[in-house]
Symmetry: C2
Subunit: 196 residues, 2 copies
DNA sequence: GTCTATAGCAGGATAGAC
DNA sequence: GTCTATCCTGCTATAGAC
């Protein structure tokens, strides 16, 4: 069984569309953008995704699957709560560095009134999954006395997620360095054990 | 000097465009949206704002002026640091309740690659003004021992601003209640004196 | 200042050849 | 599966009457 040298077209479309969704938002990217990036014609994209709504939904579901796989991966590693928190933070750091500086929740929320309903629903599921994941990390950290926070773990999970989405946006408007400062401030307030 | 019963048209256009920018993002709203909301024809809007870029820039500058007036108003009141912080938080609460759930920084950042350069620059100025304002509140609070936080006041200001922008977005995707939970968690960590 | 009419363009989408 | 060609729609923008 050989490794395919060329990613199959449908997969490539999803990857590019996902990048564009982060970069420009749902309304600002077009089939043509994808076609140009892929070196095909935009009619070909309609073969895989008949309408833009189909594509939009597929992209968010695809991102959802990736998120769940990351979560499984983290759990398989049996990380300490601070390590698992850093794993989560690294997802956002990845957005900053490789992709183009906006989280999925942010892009979906900002254009919420202008995206198809199925994207809205998928976006809600992703958000809930992130919140639940963070909450579980916080609970484990509190029980093992490796993470410190006051009050409700759910509210603290919301605060962390909100900070990360906002951090990417501030970074895009001003300076990437600001993202790292926000994450540093967050980590300092949360992590008890001396980890760099 | 009588109060004008009907706001002048240019002002109304700005107000509606600002709402739409928060609601749908720059690319997703059209001259027609404004025209319908105002009961005029879209050609009339071009009389006041020849191009959409002009309108977009004017909206952000308008928001910038309002922000600065709010800041002056807060300073004229001689508020305590916790009160001034709550004043700032109330701006975001206002977005949640009256406007449609997204901050200006968020909408500009998400659509950054798709907005005219003048809007980008104006958005950067607004962001810097917010950061500086928050930082000044934090510094005063630390000096008077009414606000508690660790580390750099600039980084903490960034964290607060990011949290608020993100909080609106999570609220839009899930539940308004989540906004209040995030703000509550933030306030609990910051405010030392017993205020409800 | 506001209107009607229309130009010009771009994006989503479909039909049909290959 | 990918192409060319084309349709339709919606948007920005302009010209010119009133």
């Amino acid at each position: 069984m050989e490794v395919a040298i060329q990613k199959d077209t449908k997969q490539s479309i999803l990857d590019i569309a996902e990048d564009l969704l982060h970069q420009k938002g749902y309304n600002a990217f077009s089939y043509k953008d994808i076609a140009v990036a892929l070196g095909i014609k935009n009619a070909s994209i309609h073969y895989y995704f008949p309408s833009k709504e189909d594509l939009g939904e597929a992209v968010v579901l695809y991102a959802f699957e990736k998120l769940k796989k990351l979560q499984e991966k983290a759990q398989a590693k049996n990380l300490s709560p601070p390590e698992e928190l850093d794993f989560f933070l690294s997802i956002y750091q990845h957005y900053l560095e490789k992709k183009l500086k906006i989280g999925l929740i942010g892009t979906l929320a900002v254009n919420f009134a202008a995206i198809p309903e199925k994207m809205q629903i998928a976006g809600q599921k992703i958000t809930q999954t992130c919140i639940a994941w963070l909450q579980s990390i916080l609970e484990k950290g509190r029980a093992s006395q490796t993470l410190r926070f006051e009050g409700d773990s759910f509210a603290q999970a919301l605060l962390i997620l909100a900070s990360l989405e906002g951090a990417l946006q501030i970074a895009r408007l001003t300076d990437n360095q600001h993202f790292y400062q926000i994450v540093g401030q967050l980590r300092n307030s949360l992590i008890l054990s001396i980890t760099i």
